[in-house]
């Protein structure tokens, strides 16, 4: 298992390198001048020059690329041109928000996907199944921000039962931040009202993102469970009188989970894309809204940092998922 993890990590290095290159090409080769953006129109030319030198923008593009890769390897994403803070620190500050949102959304999407998808598969051709298919195709067609806005309108404006923006009410942030995840920190601090408040704030954003992503999960779980329901070991288990529910969950779903997890890993990129829109819709202070906000300032180090960060996030999650997969599958585990 250890060698497996090691190999998997090593195998992802070229991919990370390519992703970094793609980001570099997009941000540096395309037009736009970050220095005037940083210093404003009133900056004297000599300050502009020195800033260009400081950012290394006066060097040949190859050298810039080398510096860029070297800096990222060192964990140095440069300093934000808007706040002058190290980008890595800003990303660290905002990452927990994104992580919390993606975790909750993923949980919702996975729950909907597994229950609805396997239920549909086990009732192939019945009403539930048709409903699941309509659900998944309809939800897929829904722009995530539109769905978010609608939920805001219904639960925040009409019924006024759920908060529509931010992560916490005033004075409702956890006293001590350990993980940055408000829910976890609230539990660690034993602040139950803070936990409740954090959960309330999570409901709409994570339902929005979770439901939209669940479309693919429902479809995926359904077809994979159908596939494993038609496999020989299911027929064999059935021939021994094993209960249908047991067959569905212990055999079909468990076996289907391996391909499902793999595809979920691929869909994680989609989840992050949706997270950008969701964070913007719900004023969620995560990396997605950070990216959108900094694009307005053309804060190059920040944009680059956020995009690189997303790329790394995707790679890390895909490695994790492969490891979980390997762990679930005895054929790889041994």
């Amino acid at each position: 298992m250890k060698t497996y993890i090691l190999t998997r990590v090593i195998l992802s290095i070229p991919m990370i390198f390519i992703l970094l290159t793609v980001v570099f090409v997009i941000l540096r080769i395309l037009p736009g001048n970050p220095v005037t953006a940083m210093l404003g129109p009133k900056a004297p030319p000599e300050v502009v020059k020195s800033m260009e030198a400081q950012l290394g923008l006066d060097k040949p593009i190859i050298v810039q690329f080398g510096d860029y890769i070297a800096n990222i390897l060192r964990g140095n994403f440069g300093n934000s041109t808007v706040t002058t803070l190290p980008v890595i620190q800003e990303l660290e500050d905002r990452f927990p928000a994104t992580l919390e949102l993606t975790i909750f959304s993923m949980v919702i999407a996975v729950l909907i996907g597994i229950f609805f998808g396997s239920f549909a598969a086990s009732h192939y051709g019945k009403t539930v199944d048709v409903m699941a298919r309509i659900y998944s195709i309809f939800v897929y067609s829904m722009p995530v921000f539109w769905f978010g806005i609608m939920l805001q309108l219904i639960f925040g404006v009409w019924f006024k039962i759920l908060p529509v923006s931010g992560r916490a009410s005033p004075f409702m942030t956890p006293d001590n931040l350990y993980t940055g995840l408000y829910t976890i920190d609230a539990i660690l601090n034993g602040q139950w009202n803070v936990l409740y408040d954090a959960l309330l704030h999570l409901v709409l954003p994570s339902v929005t993102l979770g439901v939209v992503i669940s479309s693919i999960f429902v479809r995926m779980v359904r077809s994979n469970v159908l596939l494993s329901l038609s496999s020989q070991y299911v027929i064999s288990a059935r021939s021994r009188g094993v209960k249908e529910s047991k067959i569905l969950y212990a055999h079909a779903l468990k076996n289907a989970m391996i391909p499902i997890l793999t595809i979920m890993g691929l869909q994680f990129a989609l989840l992050l894309g949706g997270a950008v829109l969701t964070e913007t819709t719900f004023s969620w202070p995560g990396i997605g809204s950070y990216l959108v906000e900094r694009i307005r300032y053309r804060d190059f180090p920040a944009i680059q940092g956020a995009v690189v960060f997303f790329a790394l996030f995707v790679v890390v999650v895909s490695i994790l998922i492969d490891i979980i997969n390997a762990w679930m599958d005895p054929r790889v585990r041994y």
Partner: protein, 322 residues
């Protein structure tokens, strides 16, 4: 009372391109402690019959007719009651041992879930004891209960499958081409195991196969299937000695140690007819060396001769005891 009585069984598959008749008007019976061989080419409906006895056909299958197991009508039994029949009363082993075991579940748990399905209150110790004994009896070290299927060879897996099928002492074991996917040496070993079972256990068996020679030694009765029809049914010796249906005769030609003086054809021409648009009349007539005019027009009924059944116009008017 017979253990199993199948009457006018009809099975259809619904597909996008039309319906497909897999089994047509099949009737036969099986006594206690009796072994039946169901023989035919692949796609003739013999496996479908096997699945239908447990009512585990694919969901696009439609079943008509009666299957009486110990006087209970399998076709109309409530789902839960049917489930309690599976594995405990009737159980089945399948063609491909490689895929018939859940690849990510320990063997032990596949045994345990079988127990739990029927005896929810059984203690794990007891389950473990019984499974160990059964495995041992079939030539597998009980310590391997902890293993995953991929850690077994094909023949071993088929043994495990057999052990799983008989662990609850069913009265009827259906073996659906249990040796097809195994190599010859292992095939014989598995047949030995089945033979032993037949001798030691108070169990009836249905062996589904395309290889008449393989089962000849252990079966008591033989049913020959062709294109969804049971074309001949009788006890094994009389069929071997004097096959009635032309198809049976052709099948027997290919078995080296069976002598057949009158036959000249050494192989069966043509293919199984399409089940979606079968030929009119007798399904076998396009390939039949003795096809008559009537065969192309009318499907023959089943004629009874000396306690044997045959579905062929050649035997119209022949009387019992001739």
């Amino acid at each position: 009372m017979n253990l199993l009585e199948v009457r006018n069984l009809e099975i259809e598959y619904l597909t996008r391109d039309g319906n497909l008749k897999a089994v047509e008007g099949v009737s036969f019976s099986l006594g206690f402690h009796e072994t039946l061989g169901l023989v035919g080419e692949s796609g003739c409906g013999k496996s479908t019959i096997g699945l239908s006895l447990l009512r585990i056909l694919p969901i696009n299958a439609r079943m008509k007719g009666r299957i009486l197991y110990k006087e209970k009508d399998v076709v109309n039994l409530p789902d839960e009651e049917m489930r309690s029949v599976r594995g405990k009363e009737i159980s089945m082993i399948f063609q491909d041992p490689m895929t018939s075991l859940d690849p990510i579940m320990r063997i032990k748990n596949q045994f345990f879930e079988t127990f739990r399905a029927h005896f929810p209150k059984m203690e794990e110790d007891e389950m473990f004891k019984i499974s160990s004994n059964v495995l041992k009896s079939i030539g597998i070290d009980p310590s391997r209960l902890e293993n995953y299927p991929f850690e077994f060879s094909g023949g071993m897996r088929q043994r495990v499958m057999i052990a799983l099928a008989i662990v609850l002492n069913p009265s009827l074991l259906i073996a659906d081409e249990p040796t097809t996917s195994l190599d010859v040496v292992v095939q014989l070993q598995i047949m030995e195991v089945l033979k032993e079972l037949k001798e030691k256990k108070d169990m009836s068996m249905i062996l589904i196969t395309h290889d008449l020679g393989l089962v000849a030694e252990i079966v008591d009765k033989v049913g020959i299937m062709y294109a969804g029809n049971l074309v001949e049914f009788g006890d094994v010796n009389s069929i071997y000695e004097k096959p009635l249906h032309p198809y049976t005769q052709l099948l027997l030609v290919s078995i080296p140690n069976v002598k057949l003086e009158d036959m000249e054809l050494k192989y069966i021409k043509g293919n199984l007819p399409s089940l979606k648009s079968p030929p009119a009349g007798c399904k076998f007539h396009p390939r039949c060396p003795f096809a008559m005019d009537i065969c192309t027009r009318e499907d023959p009924p089943t004629f009874e001769l000396n306690g044997r059944k045959v579905k062929c116009w050649l035997y119209k008017g022949e009387k019992d005891g001739s």
